[in-house]
């Protein structure tokens, strides 16, 4: 066992580098995904049949094709067509498009879930369509979409593990290397722990966003109150403690 840890200590700098790649892919992919999700999610609600159609095709195509195949396509096929993208760009593009398509449905669904009365009030006040979406509907939909977006973010973090197929030396790649100096149980055990810790940190961060968004809508305590170490207040306890 000691030998294992010695090997781990020796591999630590490389694993650290791999962690950087994994995080870069996750954050880059997530940023691209949220932009795509908002654009396609809004586009899929347009009255214009042509534009709406384009958005729908886009969503269905990237939802309906395998992420691995998309990555292979960007990395191996595009160069044959004269488009040579760095592996990292291919990774972020593949993750962003794939998860962006999924999240577009989350965005669309959350927008549609904002109560009809809110939409009607904006008409009664003569707000333009853009003002309605930007100032009234989207801020309310945002609170609704965060839990689902968190799910997809965690998915994406774990999905990054397949980028070693396109030569990126990410966390999984380096723990795989570690296996050669230790054993299967140890190396994959280390990998599990690191992914779990990363996922949990992301979950906590997203939970913070959710608390903040809900507080802005007048539901639940502020993020500062949630983070303070005071005893949980009675309102939270009454909700079954799911603050």
């Amino acid at each position: 066992m000691e030998a294992n840890f010695a090997a781990l200590a020796e591999a630590a700098p490389r694993i650290w580098e791999g962690l950087g790649i994994t995080l870069l892919l996750t954050l880059g992919g997530a940023l691209l995904a949220i932009v795509i999700a908002v654009v396609l999610g809004l586009g899929a609600r347009l009255n214009n049949v042509f534009l709406r159609g384009i958005c729908r095709v886009f969503i269905e195509f990237f939802r309906g094709t395998s992420l691995v195949v998309q990555l292979f396509f960007f990395f191996f096929v595009l160069p044959q067509l004269g488009v040579d993208l760095p592996a990292m760009v291919c990774g972020i593009l593949g993750l962003g498009l794939n998860y962006g398509a999924y999240c577009a449905e989350v965005v669309r669904g959350s927008i549609n879930s904002v109560p009809t009365g809110q939409w009607e009030a904006t008409t009664a006040l003569s707000l333009s369509k853009a003002q309605r979406m930007r100032r009234i509907i989207f801020p309310q939909a945002w609170a609704l979409m965060i839990p689902s977006l968190t799910n997809y973010l965690i998915h994406m973090l774990k999905g990054t593990a397949i980028v070693s197929f396109i030569t990126l030396a990410d966390l999984t790649f380096h723990t795989e290397q570690l296996r050669q100096d230790t054993n299967t149980f140890f190396a994959y055990g280390v990998s599990l722990v690191i992914y779990f810790v990363l996922a949990y940190i992301l979950t906590l961060m997203m939970k913070g966003l959710e608390v903040q968004a809900k507080h802005k809508l007048g539901r639940g305590e502020s993020l500062r109150d949630t983070l303070s170490l005071k005893a949980p207040d009675t309102a939270v306890a009454a909700e079954g403690g799911k603050g």
């Binding site: 009607e120 006040l125 707000l127 007048g218």
Partner: protein, 281 residues
Amino acid sequence: MPTITDPDTVPAPRPAASVPAIKFENVEKRFGDNVVLKDLNFEVARGDRVTLIGPSGSGKTTILRLVMTLEELSGGYIYIDGEPLTHEERDGKRVELGEKAQKQIRKRIGMVFQQFNLFPNMSVLENIIEAPVHVLGQSKEQATARAMELLESVGLPDKADAHPLELSGGQQQRVAIARALAMDPEILLLDEVTSALDPEIVGEVLGILRHIADTTDITMLIVTHEMQFARDVSNRVMMFDGGKVVEEATPEVMFTNPQHERTQSFLQAVLGNGEDQIGTR
């Protein structure tokens, strides 16, 4: 209490008194195969306070929603100050107006809803100044000053920074009234504004509306179950049934001596014992 009309804003040139504030011309509204309104014609004069009564499903709320452009007109025309609201006749054809043109007319109309519909992502004050700032182009200071006046007049000057959901139903509805008035509407639509409120706070909301009716010349179209309020505020009552106007009269006549049998039975059902005068509240 301050008056409702803002002295700072230049009043829009108002059309001659003879032009009706609202005119329905052969209006038809269908939901699928269900015809809610058919061949509906009526006019509301400037400054009129018209209450629509009738059983549920008679189309009275649909009328308000058509004026607010919350529902699409299936046929016919609605005119506001003589100008088409959503559709106009061009070369004998019925043509829908562009969004810009519709918005110009819509700006003159305000609505208060049964469920208040305040924006939960904004404070009370932000709710009120949102449209004046972003639609009418008022400065934030100007809109805020006016909003504080309005909050004063609905009795909630200390709630400006409160969150809408911290308020009681009655308070939320008063904010909603202030929000509608902040746009200086020529026409105010009141859609069962007290139906979602506890009986003991209905009075506070109706009191404010009475005050508005007394101190302004806003044209009002009211759907309510509060017959005493209808009697106090309106100068005309229209009884609807099956999407048609069954009877139309002053509140005095309508509530004491209705002519049509359908009105008699409806009022009897709503007011309970027919020999009682309305106004047990």
